[in-house]
C-alpha cells in the first residue's frame, strides 16, 4: 500500500465544493489586495524616496531577517517563541499550498500526484508537528500578553482577533484531521505519521462514522471560512505586519548608518524646510507606522522614556500613521508635542532593536528642522545662546575662537597653518579644545601619538565645531555653514588622514561631510590607537585597573565599534565589569542629539541613572570614549553621590597613564 490520502475526503472533490470554495478564496484574496491598495494610496501621500536600489542586497537583508528572524530573536524568549510560531506557520502555509497545487492543478491537469509515499509521510508528520508548535507558541504568546504582560504593552482589539482567529484555525485543523483519521486511518501504520491527529482521532472515535463525517464536513467549511477571513483581515488588522514588516526590511536604510539627508538650502523654490505635515515626510515614514507591531522594544530602551520624559519612539511612529490615515492635514509637531521632539538624544537604541526596521530618529530630526529653521525655536534659551555662540566663535561654549589651539602649545603641537607636514590631523572638537576636563583627554591622546612617534597637527583657531549638535538639534543651516568652512580649511592643507577623539566629530566627518564632497580618511582614536599598539609602535604597560566601560552611542550603535575600545582597555590591564546595558543595548549618557547644549528639565537625570548603573558594577573607574559622555559622567557622579567611589575617565587617559 502506498502512503497517501484522499484530498477533499468527505467534502467531495467536485463542483459543489470547488465552485463555492474558489469563489470564496478569490473574493478573500481580492479583498486582501484591495485592502493593501488602499493603504498604498495613504503611503503615497508622502514624498518620493528611492528604496529599491541594490535589489539583491535588499532581498538578502530581508530574507535574513524574515526567515531567520534575526532581529526578532534579539530579545530572547518572546523572540524565539515568535520565531517558532513563524516557522510553524510557514510550514502549514506551504503544506496547504501543496495540497491545493496537487488536487486542483497537477493532478487535475496532468494526472500527477506527489503527496504520496515517503514524501507524504514526511509531509504528514511535518505539518502535524508544525501545527502543534504553532498552538504551543501562540498559547505562550497569549498567556504572556493576557496574564503576564510586560509593563506598558498595549493590547488592542487586533490582538484578541489575531490570537482568537489563529488558535481556532489551528484547533479546527486538528479536529478535521482527527475526524478523518478516526474514519480512515485508525489502526494503520500511516496514522503514526500524524501523532497529534491520531491523539485527537482516538479521543473522538467513539462518535461513530456518521457523527465524525458530519462534524468533519462542518468543521472543514468553518476552518476554510476562518482562513479566508484571516486573508481579508490581514490589511485591516495587525496581521498586516506579515507583509509590511517583512517588506520594511527590503526598504531599510542601507546606510551609512543613521546619516541624515542633506537639506538643499540653496533651493530658492523651497518655501518650507523640515517637516510639519505628513505630506512632507517620505512614503517610507508612513509605511514605517504600518510595519510597527507595537512590540515596545524601542520604548523599553529609550533613555528619554525611561527617565520620565514624554517621548516614546513607538508612540511617535504610530501617531504619524494615525495622522496619515485619519487627519493628513494635522500639524505633526503639535501632534507629537515639542517636549517629545526635543527629548530625543538620537542614541539610536530604538532603531537598533526595532524588529520592523523602522527609522525613528530621522522623523524626529525632520520635525526639529521645521521648528528651528521655520520658527527659530529651541528647547530653551540656553540652546539658542549656544547656537549664536557657535555662529560667532565656532563653538557652542562661546569661548573666543582664537584660543582654540592654546591647549596644545605646551605640547609642541602646531596648527597646520604653521606646519602642515604631519602624519595625522587631529580634529580636536570643541570640548577637547575648550573644556578643561576634556583638554586632559586631548593631551593624553597627543601624548600617546608622540610616544608612538606619530607627528600630529591640529587646525587650531581655524577649526570650528563639526556641527553635529546643531544638526541633530535641527539647525541644518548652521551645520552646513560650519561643515563647509571646515572642509575648505582641511582641504587647503592636503591632509591625508584625520583622527578624532570625539565620536560625534567622527560620525559627522566620516558620514555627513561626505555629502558635501569631503573625501579624506577619518578614523576614531580607538581604532587608530589599537593599530599603533598592534604594530608595536605604542607600548602599554598593563597594570591592574578596576573598571566598567560605557559604549557611547556614536562609537557603538552608530558605528558598531564595540571591540576596539575593549581591546584597548584590556591592553591597559583593565578587566571590564560590564554593565547590564552594554554594547548595542548601552544606555545613553543624555548628551547626544544636541542635548549637550540643553538643560535637562523633565524627569530623572539620564546621566545620573547611567552612573548608577556603572556604580552598581562595583568598578572604580567608568571608562568612556566621548567628551560628551565624560562631561555628563563627571556631573553624574556628583548627582549619584558616588564621586569618591567612581572616577569617570577616557580611554586615552588610562592608556597615557600606562605608556611605556
Amino acid at each position: 500500500m502506498e502512503f497517501t490520502r484522499e484530498i477533499y475526503w468527505n467534502v467531495g472533490h467536485n463542483a459543489g465544493t470547488l465552485v463555492p470554495m474558489y469563489l470564496f478564496a478569490f473574493t478573500a484574496i481580492g479583498l486582501l489586495v484591495r485592502g493593501f491598495l488602499k493603504r498604498i494610496e495613504i503611503y503615497k501621500q508622502g514624498l518620493p524616496l528611492i528604496r529599491t536600489d541594490q535589489p539583491a542586497r535588499r532581498l538578502l537583508h530581508m530574507l535574513g531577517n524574515v526567515l531567520l528572524q534575526k532581529k526578532v530573536a534579539r530579545v530572547r524568549w518572546p523572540g524565539l517563541v515568535h520565531g517558532f510560531f513563524f516557522w510553524g506557520f510557514v510550514l502549514l502555509f506551504i503544506g496547504t499550498t501543496l495540497i491545493v497545487v496537487q488536487a486542483d492543478f497537477t493532478d487535475l491537469f496532468f494526472d500527477m500526484k506527489f503527496l504520496k509515499g515517503t514524501f507524504y509521510l514526511l509531509f504528514s508528520i511535518t505539518l502535524d508537528v508544525a501545527g502543534l508548535v504553532c498552538i504551543f507558541m501562540l498559547g505562550g504568546l497569549l498567556v504572556r500578553r493576557y496574564f503576564f504582560a510586560p509593563e506598558g504593552l498595549e493590547t488592542k482589539k487586533d490582538d484578541a482577533i489575531m490570537h482568537g482567529l489563529l488558535l481556532t484555525i489551528l484547533c479546527t485543523g486538528f479536529l478535521i484531521e482527527g475526524s478523518r483519521i478516526a474514519v480512515t486511518e485508525l489502526g494503520t501504520p500511516l496514522s503514526y505519521w500524524s501523532p497529534m491527529g491520531l491523539l485527537v482521532a482516538k479521543g473522538i472515535a467513539g462518535m461513530g462514522e456518521g457523527g465524525l463525517r458530519a462534524m468533519h464536513k462542518v468543521l472543514w467549511w468553518t476552518h476554510f471560512s476562518l482562513v479566508m477571513s484571516f486573508f481579508t483581515l490581514i490589511p485591516l488588522t495587525k496581521f498586516r505586519h506579515i507583509f509590511t514588516t517583512s517588506t520594511n526590511y527590503f526598504f531599510d536604510d542601507l546606510g551609512p548608518k543613521g546619516k541624515l539627508v542633506n537639506l538643499d538650502l540653496e533651493n530658492e523654490e523651497a518655501e518650507t524646510f523640515g517637516v510639519t505635515n505628513v505630506k512632507e515626510m517620505t512614503w517610507k515614514d508612513i509605511f514605517d507606522a504600518d510595519a510597527c507591531t507595537l512590540c515596545m522594544r524601542c520604548q523599553d530602551r529609550c533613555p528619554a522614556f525611561n527617565t520620565d520624559k514624554p517621548l516614546s519612539p513607538m508612540k511617535v511612529v504610530n501617531q504619524l500613521g494615525e495622522v496619515a490615515f485619519t487627519n493628513p492635514e494635522a500639524n505633526l509637531v503639535d501632534t507629537f508635542g515639542k517636549d517629545v521632539l526635543w527629548s530625543c538624544t538620537t542614541c539610536r537604541a530604538c532603531q537598533e532593536i526595532c524588529p520592523a526596521a523602522i527609522e525613528h530618529v530621522k522623523k524626529i530630526i525632520d520635525c526639529r528642522r521645521a521648528m528651528v529653521l521655520m520658527e527659530g525655536e529651541f528647547p530653551g534659551e540656553e540652546v539658542m545662546t549656544a547656537m549664536e555662540a557657535t555662529e560667532v566663535n565656532g563653538n557652542p561654549l562661546g569661548i573666543g575662537y582664537a584660543e582654540r589651539g592654546d591647549w596644545a602649545a605646551e605640547l609642541g603641537i602646531k596648527p597646520l597653518a604653521e606646519d602642515a607636514e604631519v602624519d595625522i590631523l587631529y580634529f580636536v572638537g570643541c570640548y577637547g579644545s575648550f573644556d578643561k576636563r576634556n583638554i586632559a583627554v586631548a593631551k593624553s591622546f597627543v601624548g600617546l601619538c608622540q610616544a608612538a612617534g606619530v607627528k600630529v597637527g591640529i587646525l587650531g583657531k581655524e577649526e570650528k565645531c563639526c556641527g553635529e549638535p546643531m544638526r541633530k538639534m535641527g539647525n541644518e543651516y548652521l551645520y552646513q555653514t560650519l561643515a563647509m568652512e571646515n572642509i575648505e580649511v582641511i582641504n587647503s592643507y592636503g591632509v591625508k588622514k584625520i583622527v578624532t577623539t570625539c565620536p560625534h566629530c567622527f560620525n559627522t566627518l566620516e558620514k555627513d561631510y561626505r555629502d558635501l564632497g569631503f573625501a579624506i580618511e577619518v578614523e576614531p582614536y580607538v581604532v587608530f590607537l589599537e593599530k599603533l599598539i598592534a604594530s608595536g609602535r605604542l607600548q602599554i604597560d598593563a597594570r591592574e585597573l578596576s573598571c566598567t566601560y560605557h559604549d557611547s552611542c556614536y562609537l557603538g550603535r552608530h558605528n558598531d565599534l564595540y571591540d576596539a575600545p575593549r581591546a584597548l582597555i584590556k591592553a591597559a590591564g583593565g578587566k571590564i565589569l560590564e554593565m547590564d546595558k552594554n554594547r548595542a543595548e548601552a544606555f545613553c549618557c543624555s548628551a547626544g542629539g544636541g542635548r549637550i547644549l540643553a538643560e535637562e528639565k523633565i524627569g530623572e537625570r539620564i546621566n545620573v541613572k547611567r552612573v548608577k548603573m556603572a556604580a552598581a558594577t562595583g568598578a572604580e573607574n567608568l571608562i568612556s570614549n566621548c567628551p560628551f559622555c565624560l562631561t555628563m559622567f563627571e556631573d553624574g557622579v556628583k548627582g549619584a553621590e558616588v564621586e569618591d567611589a567612581l572616577r569617570p575617565k577616557d580611554i586615552a587617559e588610562i592608556l597615557a597613564e600606562r605608556v611605556v
Binding site: F273, L373, E391, G398, Y477
Partner: protein
C-alpha cells in the same frame, strides 16, 4: 510708520583683547564680531513694533567698514526691511558725538516715527549716542528701556533706574528709544528670512556725505587696568579654613584688632 534702528558691530566679549599699536583702541586681530547686545534688543523691539502696526518700514543703520554688512544681514534676517550702511573704515576712531552726528544727518529729513538703538555699546560703552541723536533731531529721548508698548502714536515705556526702581514714561512719537537688557528676547532668524535678507536693499553711503560735525573729545590712551591683588580661594576642611581665614584677617586687615 517709519522706523530706524541703529546698530553697531562689536567684538565678542569672550575674545582675547590687545591694545593696538596706536595705544588708543583695541587691536582687531583674532576677534570674532557680532551685533552689540543692546542693539539686538533694539532690533527685536523694532521688528515687534513693525509686526504690531503691520504697515511699517524698518531701516537698519550701521557705521563701519564692509565687514559690518554681515551683522546688518542678521538684522535684516530678524525682520528689518532695508539696510543703510554708512561706509567708514575708521568708525572706531570716531567719538560718540560724531557717530550721533552721522546718524542725525542721515535721519533728519526722513521723518522716522521711532528710532531705536542700544543703551550703549559693549566695546566703547559711552552710552551717549542715542541721547545725542535725540538731541540733534530735537526729539524726546528715552534711555535704558526695559518695557515698551505702543498704541495710537503714544509710547508707554519703563526705564530701568538704580536699585531695581523703574520709571514709567509716556511720550508721543516721534522719539528715540535706547534699549536695555530685559526688554525682550531677540529672535533667532528663520531660514526663509535669512534667504530673504540676502535680497533686501543694503545701500552704502560714504561717511563723508553724512559727517558734518567736528569731534569734541579725543581718546588719549587705552590700557589694561593695573593688576592690584586678586581673589584667593581657600581649600580644605572647615576647621582648617577657619584657621586660615583668621590668619589672613589678622595679617592683612585690622578687623580683628
Amino acid at each position: 510708520m517709519k522706523i530706524l534702528v541703529c546698530i553697531k558691530q562689536v567684538p565678542d566679549m569672550e575674545s582675547k583683547f590687545k591694545v593696538d599699536d596706536g595705544g588708543t583702541w583695541y587691536a582687531k586681530t583674532d576677534l570674532a564680531w557680532r551685533m552689540n547686545e543692546y542693539d539686538e534688543y533694539a532690533v527685536e523691539q523694532a521688528v515687534q513694533l513693525k509686526e504690531q502696526v503691520k504697515d511699517a518700514d524698518l531701516t537698519v543703520l550701521c557705521i563701519g567698514g564692509d565687514q559690518v554688512k554681515e551683522t546688518m544681514k542678521k538684522a535684516l534676517a530678524m525682520g528689518c526691511d532695508r539696510g543703510a550702511h554708512v561706509a567708514d573704515g575708521d568708525s572706531s576712531g570716531k567719538e560718540p558725538y560724531q557717530i550721533a552726528g552721522i546718524i542725525a544727518e542721515y535721519a533728519k529729513d526722513k521723518n522716522f516715527d521711532l528710532i531705536f538703538t542700544g543703551m550703549q555699546s559693549q566695546d566703547r560703552g559711552s552710552g551717549q549716542v542715542g541721547l545725542l541723536v535725540a538731541e540733534m533731531l530735537g526729539l524726546p529721548g528715552i534711555t535704558t528701556v526695559v518695557h515698551f508698548a505702543y498704541k495710537d502714536g503714544v509710547i508707554e515705556a519703563k526705564r530701568e533706574l538704580e536699585g531695581g526702581v523703574k520709571a514709567c514714561v509716556n511720550v508721543a512719537a516721534p522719539a528715540v528709544i535706547t534699549c536695555q537688557l530685559g526688554l525682550n528676547t531677540p529672535r533667532y532668524p528663520t531660514l526663509p528670512n535669512i534667504m530673504k535678507a540676502k535680497k533686501k536693499e543694503l545701500l552704502s553711503i560714504p561717511v563723508d556725505d553724512l559727517l558734518k560735525v567736528e569731534s569734541r573729545q579725543e581718546t588719549a590712551r587705552m590700557y589694561f587696568p593695573e593688576k592690584k591683588g586678586g581673589g584667593l580661594v581657600l581649600e580644605g576642611d572647615a576647621a582648617e579654613l577657619a584657621d586660615q581665614l583668621v590668619k589672613i584677617l589678622k595679617e592683612k586687615t585690622a578687623v580683628l584688632g
